[in-house]
Amino acid sequence: MVSYVPGDLTLTVRGGTTLAEIGRVTGEHDQWLPLDPFGSDEGTIGATIATASAGPLATGFGLPRDLLLGLEFVNGRGEIVRAGGKVVKNVAGFDLSRLLTGSWGTLGVITEVTVRLYSRPKVDRTFAVPLGRGQKSTTELLRAVAASPLAPFALEILNGAAALSLGFGDNPTLLVRFGGNAPVVDAQLKAFSQLARTEEVEQSTWPALRKMDGDAASVIRISTLPTRFLTVASSILADTEPRIMISINPRRGIMRLVTQDDGDREPASIADPGISLDFPSDGEGAGTSVIFEKLPAEVWPVVSPSVASDPLSRGIKKAYDPHNILNPGILGH
């Protein structure tokens, strides 16, 4: 911990501080850093920023780039560089904070991070909705939620395999988290109950969902326009593939596929999502990105990422890490 003034709702920590430690310290003042990347709270804030890792709470609080106020890093020449600051609003100088977020350690080693905090909500409750059995169709439900003034902290749809791993039976399930003062949570619950039959579940559902990829062979994230998921969610969820656990965040337009290692697959097929992604064409064709979050080491060269191979990215890499010593190859340089 470098500095923490609860009244400012900002926190500055060294890069190696775990999310668990941040949670403990801020919790003492009824505050929190609403970042819950997939994985566990034993991960560090530096790694969370470096990989731009987000989880279900991104629905309500944004991505790491949105909560980051400033950072310090050491570039490939061993120079200490500071970006941003410790106040909640800042446009001084070019935005190296955003640049470093999601750069996977290729531009610098993040040594210090300043983030924005929030007060812990007075009420924070989670509800599960079993999908597909006597419920309105998934698409209809999602459209109704999208059109409503509901502002959930988190909203995730799980396929049967994912629901089963969390102990909800093997039915596709929608998880929704409402937080805030008591009246706002009650009002949202009341409105939501008119759309679907809900059942309150433990808050520990979220850490369990985040740990789903613990021993997975591969984790693939697919990102596209949120509405594209509205129309295909039902058919994706209907595909009962017990080996692939799927969670969809319809607000962010994110689907995560967590594949267990069954030991007898060819490397190339592990990188294959294994389900048909039949997004309706909207005339623009492009726009779906497949991001590999986790792959067996031997598979990595097969899919050979090239996400930072454009001239601007290569120029930045060369300027910040002229000797190519920082996580070489990870972004396909």
Binding site: P6, G7, L9, T10, D30, Q31, A52, R65, D66, E79, I80, V81, A83, V87, V88, K89, V91, A92, G93, F94, D95, L96, S97, R98, L99, T101, G102, S103, L107, Y118, S119, A146, P149, G180, N181, A182, P183, V184, D186, A187, S223, L225, P226, T227, R252, G253, I254, E284, T288, S289, I291, V307, A308, D310, L312, S313, I316, A319, Y320, L331
Partner: protein
């Protein structure tokens, strides 16, 4: 840096006119007068030429012509900036206000793609019938453009809850100073790889021109409630601000106006009905679901009363609400009543230090015999001490600048930043070395060098030139 010679410039003007049409190239000094300052009248620089492309392809062709000629240029939106960032010192201005198409609106996915010259408020009026809004709302929203907002990473009162421009831009098509056209970010989903969109936002015209910008839209809140709390002491209002933030409630906006500001606003056509004898008012807005807003409203009202507010008034309807806001949003304009020139600062401080810094500002204004009007985004700790003065009075100018420097140094010493939303431009370049080390400044120079290796886009802004190692090496080699 290669500047056009006078004779050369006329040739360039002709070739620019071939691209955009005669009417859209200005070269006579009298025509260029209006482009010689931005919203901060203390700085004036005369451009050599101004060119106004009327279509995306024209903008690209203009940039390519300047690239071929090796000529520097300054991009400009509506010219409402408050840091001298869009001034062109004997070089070419590319004005983008004619690129004003709203290209596509995707209601269900809540995003819209616009050209850079689209005015912020016009975008909001366009999306309002669909129950949507574009959240960043600079006080100049009625005039400023989305392209300018991107260049400055603009904020506004409602950024306290909703975030600034960088939190709302998804993607951009950009023409780099070389003339190359690149896509930054993703219109469709989340982007992988370096966040070049994030790097571009707030680059103050030094990285190129945005040709189109895709932004997120936000659902209009179910309920909006606006309170005006007035105080007989600046200190009490400052402490109440800190107490509201510390309570954990995130108001949509939390704005502060001190006595001198109240009185100049009330004397102007923007009079909002603020109590003229008050030493400070807080304008507090809460929004969201009706049930939650009502509960928070009672908490905020109680914090204000317990903190010494004389009155807490809740706007009864939208008419009253908009009137309260008009006084705040037009306060800078109203200060034109005080003197011919206005200097505006934009420092940000930790929100627990508000009371202490406002007292320091009060002491500094007494010491130099200047009138400071404080009107600012208190919830963010983003101060705007303004001093109206007569720039032709050298003694007064000197006192004003000394006072402003002292105020800025006090904010820096409190752990703050030199600019929260107005940008560095020309105005705050001198303070960059107070908050960033040589290595940090050099890293920023290197980033700029990747986007603009020839340093032709908005030269001489943001970064003190001597802080760029690479530039120094080039200079000493000559």
């Amino acid at each position: 840096m290669i500047l056009p010679s006078r004779s050369n410039a006329s040739t360039v003007a002709d070739r620019l006119a071939e691209i955009v049409g005669d009417r859209h190239v200005l070269s006579r000094p009298s025509e260029l007068l209006v482009y010689n300052s931005d919203g901060l009248p203390g700085y004036r620089r005369q451009p050599r030429l101004a060119v106004f492309p009327g279509a995306r392809d024209e903008a690209i062709a203009v940039v390519r012509l300047l690239a071929d000629e090796g000529l520097p240029f300054v991009p400009r939106g509506a010219g409402t900036g408050l840091s001298g960032g869009s001034l062109a010192d004997d070089i070419i201005v590319i004005g983008l206000h004619r690129l004003k198409d709203i290209i596509s609106l995707d209601i269900e996915n809540r995003r819209v793609t616009v050209e850079p010259g689209v005015v912020n408020l016009r975008l909001n009026k366009y999306v309002a019938p669909h129950g949507l809004l574009y959240a960043p709302d600079p006080s100049s929203e009625a005039a400023c453009t989305i392209g300018g907002n991107v260049a400055e990473n603009a904020g506004g009162p409602h950024c306290l809850k909703y975030g600034v421009t960088l939190n709302h831009v998804l993607a951009m098509t950009v023409v780099l100073p070389s003339g190359e056209v690149v896509e930054l970010g993703s219109k469709f989903g989340e982007h992988d790889g370096y966040d070049l969109r994030g790097a571009f936002i707030g680059s103050e015209g030094c990285f190129g021109l945005a040709l189109d910008i895709t932004v997120k839209l936000t659902q209009r809140p179910q309920t909006v409630r606006t309170l005006l709390a007035d105080f007989m002491s600046v200190d009490k209002a400052a402490r109440v601000t800190s107490a509201i933030i510390a309570s954990g409630i995130v108001p949509a906006a939390l704005e502060f106006m001190d006595g001198p500001t109240i009185r100049v606003v009330e004397a102007s056509i923007y009079a909002a009905g603020y109590p003229k004898d008050a030493e400070a008012v807080l304008l507090i807005e809460l929004d969201g679901l009706e049930a939650g807003v009502s509960a928070d409203l009672e908490v905020v009202r109680r914090v204000c009363i317990e903190g010494g507010a004389r009155n807490v008034k809740v706007a009864r309807d939208d008419v009253e609400r908009l009137k309260l806001w008009q006084g705040r949003k037009k306060a800078f304009g109203a200060m034109g009543r005080l003197a011919s020139h206005l200097i505006v600062q934009d420092a940000v401080i930790p929100r627990t230090r508000l009371s202490e810094i406002l007292a320091t500002i009060g002491a500094i204004s007494k010491k130099y015999g200047v009138l400071v009007c404080n009107v600012f985004h208190a919830g963010d700790g983003n101060l705007h001490p303004n001093i109206a003065y007569n720039a032709d009075d050298t003694d007064e100018s000197e006192r004003v600048h000394k006072a402003m420097t002292e105020i800025m140094n006090a904010c820096i010493a409190a752990g703050g930043s030199i600019t929260g939303e107005h940008g560095v431009g020309l105005d705050k370049m001198g303070y960059m070395e107070s908050i960033f080390s040589d290595n940090s400044l050099n890293a920023m120079c290197e980033l700029r060098g990747v986007f603009d290796p020839e340093h032709r886009a908005n030269p001489g802004k943001v970064m003190p030139i001597h802080s760029c190692k690479e530039w120094n090496a080039v200079a000493s080699a000559r």
